[in-house]
């Protein structure tokens, strides 16, 4: 059999228009932060990308005051129809600068350019476009006439989809009339600061959006700031619990979008090749750095061997390497810390008795990479079946009956997403009813849309993002 080699097809990193230094964005201006600057690195090469000024606690205070002033004097009183036009402008500016943003995102995060180009950036623009239209139609959102915004929203986002998570947070907050102070993740602050420039280009009034880069301590300061009316957090369940604990008994509103351990359930009548694509997409999209990743494959026993064979064959064709290469399927793990966590958990699976199979792809000499891996023979009691790995590692369990599939799928404190693969429509709807998860993908996986609410049951958090339902998180209702 002849092998078709792919010639390198790298996107130019110059498109990112990388600056040597980035600064916090407070009250409409880029300012010198009082915190220690951090160096954001390219996880695919471990080379420094840029120096990023960080906010200090007093900068957070200044940002919250700026957001409050903007809420009181400009953004709050502004008619929805006018707010909408700013959001439409932002959506268009993201589209106009999409190549730059995609390359920048890939450099800073390590995700393949085809994902940042085709998924992250266009979906971020779509979120602003969608929510722009809500700004003057909130009377029709089902929360009574003239629903009021909460005020100043503090928003903390993770490193897996830096620009997209920013859009999920900022677009609904602004559409409903709130102002925001957003802290991007420590390892991926760059696209948020380019977004700040977009806010300037859109002539968004000063103080409506403030971006305060920093580490967990700055997030913690923001959470506890008495001038913040609402906290929206996306990140780990452990940190989410800390935030909920810290806000217990306060008037600050809270929504949490936390971890997951999604079951991807494959029945013996599923179209197997299609299911294999869905499994690959479910766990290897964005290197598995996805809270709703299909990290537990539940396969009906009668087809387990056949499916695993097909899955391994497909995984062997995944191209791992330079995230800027348009042919790359699997990019870099975002940080050394995350790579160590993935290695540790995968090793625990092996030690617990799971069988490990790793795609025989070559790893680049530099950078943080982890080859796509399947652990089969996984038992419910193993850590790799219970804990979120947040990496390209799939745990495989089997089931015999639909009831057993439901029980195993729901046997987790999480409840963010689930995947179902079967040709039988009635079974899909029966299963969808029984999945204790906020998003159920049937014969597909990892679909996102601003019109479709997203969020978790149980320890995957509370509140939704997207759709009419998502507006509630930023309204005083």
């Amino acid at each position: 059999m002849s092998v078709w080699e792919y010639a390198p097809a790298p996107e130019s990193r110059d498109l990112a228009n990388l600056q040597p230094a980035y600064r916090p964005f407070i009250d409409g201006a880029f300012v010198d932060g009082g915190g220690d600057p951090l160096t954001s690195i390219n996880p695919a090469t471990e080379e420094p990308l840029a120096e990023v000024g960080t906010a200090s606690a007093s900068d957070v205070d200044i940002a919250v005051r700026a957001a409050r002033a903007a809420f009181d004097t400009v953004w709050g009183p502004m008619p929805g129809a006018e707010r909408a036009k700013y959001l439409f402008r932002i959506a268009r500016l993201i589209q106009e600068r999409s190549r730059e943003l995609a390359v920048l995102e890939t450099l800073d995060n390590g995700k393949p350019i085809k994902e940042s180009r085709d998924s992250d950036v266009p979906t971020a623009a779509a979120h602003f476009f969608y929510h722009a239209g809500w700004a003057d139609k909130l009377d029709y959102a089902g929360y009574g006439p003239d629903p009021k915004p909460l005020g100043v929203a503090g928003q903390i986002i993770p490193w897996n989809f830096p620009l997209l998570m920013l859009a999920w947070k900022i677009a609904p907050a602004l559409a409903t009339g709130n102002t925001v102070v957003l802290k991007p993740a420590e390892t991926t602050p760059l696209s948020a600061l380019v977004f700040a420039e977009i806010c300037q280009q859109a002539e968004l009034p000063a103080g409506v959006v403030n971006i305060v880069p920093g580490a967990g301590d700055i997030g913690s300061t923001l959470v506890r700031h008495p001038g913040v009316d609402k906290i929206a957090f996306t990140g780990s369940t452990a940190v989410g619990k800390e935030i909920q604990h810290a806000l217990a008994g306060t008037a600050t509103r809270l929504t949490l979008e936390l971890g997951g351990k999604a079951a991807n359930v494959v029945f013996d009548d599923a179209p197997l090749d299609q299911a294999v694509e869905g499994i690959v997409n479910g766990i290897f999209f964005n290197q598995g750095h996805v809270c709703c990743a299909g990290s537990r494959l539940l396969v009906q026993e009668s087809i387990a061997e056949e499916l695993l064979g097909k899955l391994r064959a497909r995984m062997s064709t995944l191209r791992l390497g330079d995230p800027l290469d348009k042919n790359t399927d699997i990019g870099a793990i975002n940080s050394a810390e995350q790579l160590a966590k993935i290695r540790e958990l995968t090793a625990s699976g092996e030690a617990d008795g799971a069988e490990r199979w790793t795609s025989p792809c070559e790893l680049p000499e530099r950078g943080f990479f982890f080859a796509p891996t399947v652990l089969s023979g996984v038992e419910q009691s193993m850590r790799v079946a219970r804990e979120e790995i947040f990496g390209p590692v799939l745990s495989v369990l089997t089931f015999r009956t639909p009831d057993e599939a439901v029980t195993k799928a729901n046997n987790t404190p999480y409840g963010l997403s689930a995947g179902l693969w079967t040709e039988k429509g009635s079974r899909i709807l029966w299963l969808a009813d029984r999945m204790r998860a906020g998003v159920v993908w049937a014969n597909t996986f990892n679909r996102f849309d601003p019109a479709a609410p997203f969020g978790g049951y149980q320890e995957s958090g509370f509140g939704r993002e997207g759709g009419r339902t998502g507006l509630e998180a930023y309204l005083d209702v």
């Binding site: 779509a126 089902g142 009574g144 369940t237 989410g240 619990k241 800390e242 909920q244 604990h245 217990a248 008994g249 509103r253 949490l256 936390l258 404190p413 899909i428 969808a432 009813d433 999945m435 998860a437 906020g438 998003v439 159920v440 993908w441 049937a442 014969n443 597909t444 679909r447 849309d449 019109a451 479709a452 609410p453 997203f454 969020g455 049951y457 149980q458 320890e459 995957s460 958090g461 509370f462 939704r464 759709g467 009419r468 339902t469 509630e472 209702v477």
Partner: protein, 288 residues
């Protein structure tokens, strides 16, 4: 009329469709508003909380899986049973709350009407809160509200029936199951309501009623991993903070409630229903 000695009722807990005493053996005296002895109520313990949670969890699959129409009928049946016991409720509300017979009677009327209002929501809330999502792709995407699970309810301390109904009915209407801690000092209407629930086709375990102290039992409910949401209405201000902290350990939904008990006679909105519902979004491809 002869001087007949009446048969006094033993007031007990309501767990899993049965009426046990507290496993702790504890009781406490309940008095009327003027201080006269009414009854000894069971003083529920942590173990009773756990038994009630266990019963409510067992009942969740059946109750949440019942058709909305069926849940509506069952809850409407509760209202019918309440109506049949109007006099008993009015007497207990009057004694516990120290209000006139006429006022107590209107409280009972409002409570029954409140229950009917929520009963009617079971098969409508999905139409109001759900959606077909116009996604940009060849998919049918729809969002349905589903019950969040098991709700711990610390019922209001003052409003012994109307308040209780106002916090319990929305839980049951969404398809959630409940563990209720009644008003501590005014528990009799809650116990009589359990007798109504037991005789109105509400499956055992769907609603469980404990008499006791909200501040003592609330933190146990809030830290129990099998409880999904908690309504701290009946807890004291200090205790609410502890309850909210305990709830964070398993990312429970904690209801935002006013510091002081609200005026329960006000017409409710659907915010309580919304709090107990999770939006589930389902995607399916379209194709020939």
């Amino acid at each position: 009329m002869s001087d007949r000695v009446s048969v006094a009722k033993t007031y007990k807990l309501y767990i899993g469709g049965k009426f046990p005493r507290s496993e702790s053996g504890r009781t406490y005296p309940v008095t009327d508003a003027s201080g006269a002895f009414l009854a000894n109520a069971s003083h529920a313990s942590r173990k009773d909380v756990r038994d009630a949670v266990s019963a409510a969890r067992k009942a969740f699959g059946g109750w949440s899986g019942a058709t909305a129409y069926n849940r509506g009928q069952v809850l409407y049946r509760v209202a019918e049973m309440l109506e049949g016991r109007r006099a008993q409720f009015a007497a207990e509300v009057s004694a516990c709350e120290g209000i006139s017979a006429a006022d107590a009677s209107s409280v009972v009327d409002a409570s029954i009407d409140r229950w009917v209002w929520y009963a009617g929501w079971t098969d409508k809330v999905a139409s109001v809160l759900g959606a077909a999502n116009p996604v940009a792709g060849p998919y049918f995407s729809f969002t349905v509200p589903e019950p969040t699970g098991l709700v711990g309810v610390l019922a209001p301390q003052s409003s012994s029936l109307l308040g209780l109904v106002s916090v319990l009915a929305p839980v049951l209407a969404t398809g959630c199951t409940a563990v209720v801690v009644s008003s501590a000092d005014r528990p009799l209407p809650a116990i009589t309501l359990s007798e109504v629930l037991a005789t109105s086709d509400v499956p055992g375990g769907v609603a469980n009623v404990l008499t006791g102290r909200a501040d003592e039992l609330g933190p146990w409910l809030a830290s129990h991993a099998d409880v999904n949401a908690i309504d701290p209405t009946g807890a004291s201000a200090e205790s609410r903070v502890d309850i909210a902290r305990a709830a964070s350990g398993t990312v429970k939904r904690v209801l935002r409630v006013p510091d002081a008990e609200p005026d329960w006679t006000q017409r409710p909105d659907i915010s309580r229903l919304r709090r107990y519902l999770e939006a589930k979004t389902v995607w399916h491809p379209k194709g020939a």
